[in-house]
Amino acid sequence: MDGQQITILAFGKVAEKLGSEQLKASGFEDTDSLLRWLHDRYPALKEVDFSLAVDRKLVAGNTGLGMMCEVALLPPFSGG
């Protein structure tokens, strides 16, 4: 392990597709490479649209991932 542990938090439908609300991963420099890996590993993820937050901040577009960072996968909710 190279110490670049990333914590992935999944919400709503994304958590269902991942089968877990929390995952650990390592070796990803940016959100694009992390997303590619997630989509490869969990093909059902293509059925869900979601936004991304890195270290509790919403991000748009590819974003660099630092050491020990936390990436949240945030699908919209519609229910009321």
Binding site: E47, S51, P76, S78, G79, G80
Partner: protein, 372 residues
Amino acid sequence: MTADRFDRQRALPGFGAEGQFRLAAAKILVVGAGGLGCPALRYLAAAGVGRLGIVDGDVVAPSNLHRQVLFGVPDIGFSKAERAATALQRDYPDGLHIDVYPHYLTSEQALDTIRPYDAVLDGSDNFATRYMVNDACVLLNKPLALGAVYQHEGHVTLLNAPDGRGERGVNYRDLYPKPPGQGTIPNCHETGVLGILPGVIGTLQAAELIKLLSGYGETLSGKLLYYNALNNRFWTLALPAAGVKHRDIPVSEEAFRKTDYAMQCGASPQITWKEAMEILSNRQATTCAVDLREMHEYPDDVLMDSLRISLEDIDRDTHRFKDAEVVLIFCQNGYRSQVATILLGRVFPGKSIYSIEGGTGHPDAPTQFSQS
């Protein structure tokens, strides 16, 4: 001053008579008197908001009662907007004015409905309404308390709120620029929801507007709060101002009125049983009917020679639709068939694919389904 129903609120340091006075002058529109709207309306009315508008075109159903707490068994079958207004007017006959809109919000009347109010609370249950209400609030400069739930999770924020320097806070499109296809995200009709969850989220939405309009405390503007009822986790993230103007927000009120939010949100084309039976009676080789019901759902009723495919396989068994030009899809209640219509539409953008409204449970469904 004699004690009244707001005494304990006025006594709150930082709230005081001034906060109460501001609430009495406040006008809030609540879109949707459902799982989120009911608790929100209860607290807004109890807190002393002077004017409340209630928009809902639906009627009370037995399956609503575990979460839509302004209603009881005697309300079943009656307008939600009217019954909610009746309950609140009965409980708070003093100083509360209620406007009842017993119909759904549409892009034709949304702006005129929202315009007289100071702020809006979104208690709707579908993306088309959520994007429409967001865009209307951006055009009209109205703060919007957003709340939404999914099974055991919910989120809440205050959108489009003034920041004190004349700038507006983030809106829904900063968070989710494009509406998802409605087929990808089911709402509470299909997925089930813990009754208390919209109670928590709707109450938090009401708290946001009470704070904003009374000037008390700090709001969630620029932050999104998640609540997970299963593990009691509250989680907040920052929503930085995107600083971009979203191309998809209509540029003018006129453009807004012409926007079809249902289509933007991937509403699937639907037809009635009557229309479907007509198409099937002049049946061509290029028309195909698809029965999505699982084996445990009345396996003996098969509409003519329909294909039986489960929703899970619909976009995998694509060879079965290769030669069809028109595909009519039905299920037991009309929800899964909408999802299937969207999935199949992505694979075959050239085909005419329809979901049959209401499924086999609909009164107009062909008679072989009637015993089901």
